[in-house]
């Protein structure tokens, strides 16, 4: 096999990181599910968060099919959408475990109208919208933490908020917007 050693090592190292990432994600998801007792007061907070995730998934899915995104941006959008889907699944399971009915996503037509997706004309427009939504989501999770009665849930919300912050930072940099100079960017 003519594959250079260096490249192979890099590939394996990346694969190892990827495997570790999957295992950690599964472990965390399992820990969040098993250790967290959802109190009745927390169900409403989770439902609001779940509605946020539905909206984020719809925004990436609809924008992804718009033909406005270049291949690299589309790939990234799909990664972010995957994160939101994982968040959605975790939150929906928690609601169901508490005996609640997880809030359903709205129709695509509603999301298109609510987010004015028909007005998006370029990749820059999509990135700007996604940046705004991710920033709002990161802050919303932080804002909701104080309402939670269960520390395990607070940890989950903090973790999801960090994911949204990664999305925002990546998109913000892609748009060439400077990072805010003041601290406490979210919340």
């Amino acid at each position: 096999m003519n594959e250079p050693k260096g490249d192979r090592r890099t590939f394996l190292a990346r694969a190892g990181v990827a495997t570790l990432g999957v295992a950690t994600a599964s472990l965390f998801a399992g820990r969040a599910m098993s250790a967290t007792v959802v109190r009745p007061n927390d169900v409403g907070v989770i439902q609001t968060a779940l509605a946020l995730e539905h909206e984020g998934i719809a925004a990436y899915r609809i924008a992804g099919k718009s033909g406005l995104l270049s291949p690299g941006t589309l790939k990234l959008a799909l990664v972010f959408m995957g994160h939101h889907q994982t968040h959605r699944d975790s939150l929906a399971k928690l609601v169901a475990a508490a005996g609640g009915k997880p809030v359903e996503p709205r129709t695509d037509a509603q999301y298109i109208a609510e987010l004015k997706l028909n007005s998006l004309k370029s990749e820059a427009d999509v990135v700007a919208l996604a940046t705004m939504l991710e920033r709002g989501a990161a802050s919303a999770y932080i804002g909701q933490i104080t309402a939670l009665k269960e520390p395990g849930l607070a940890k989950l919300f903090a973790s999801i908020s960090a994911d949204e912050a990664i999305h925002w930072t990546t998109l913000n940099n892609a748009a060439g917007t400077p990072i805010p100079t003041a601290a406490y960017v979210f919340g």
Binding site: T48, L133, G136, A137, S139, A140, G143, Q144, A147
Partner: protein
């Protein structure tokens, strides 16, 4: 007796000035507050709310001066429907300080401890609630209230 053009001009100027004062008193804000407030609004409220469309939360156009739980078509919680009254800057400040304290069981969960940030957000909400901005999203009762305002 006919009014002189000079008198009409003074009268018009006075009316214009009075109108501007009335708008300023209603808004109670300065442009810097509104600009900073918009940033704070997008950061704190933008996850769930927009100015002109209902999303996870209801639209905010004309929220100041609007009856609580009055946006047509938005599915409010029973807690907010029971709250009643009008959204004034003071009530919005109370709301943003702790939504569940003001209306336990409402859909919104937020405790914004920073009074300055609350005021900036309210300044922005006032700026999108000016009488001239939009009449379409007001209810009939709100339109009557606007007409009563001097």
């Amino acid at each position: 007796m006919r009014s002189s053009p000079f008198r009409v001009s003074i009268l018009s100027g006075g009316l214009l000035f009075a109108s501007l004062l009335a708008v300023a008193a209603w808004a109670g804000t300065v442009p810097d507050d509104v600009a900073a407030g918009q940033t704070a609004y997008l950061n704190t409220c933008g996850g769930c709310h927009s100015v002109d469309t209902d999303r996870i939360g209801p639209r905010h156009r004309n929220v100041v001066g609007r009856a609580v739980a009055s946006v047509q078509g938005y599915d409010y919680s029973s807690a907010l429907k029971k709250l009643g009254g009008i959204w004034t800057p003071d009530r919005l400040d109370q709301w943003l300080s702790g939504t569940q304290k003001m209306a336990p069981g409402s859909k919104m969960y937020l405790e914004l401890d920073d009074a300055t940030e609350r005021q900036l957000i309210i300044a922005y909400l006032q700026s999108v609630s000016l009488p001239a901005v939009s009449k379409d999203s007001r209810t009939d009762s709100q339109s009557k209230r606007w007409r009563k305002r001097p």
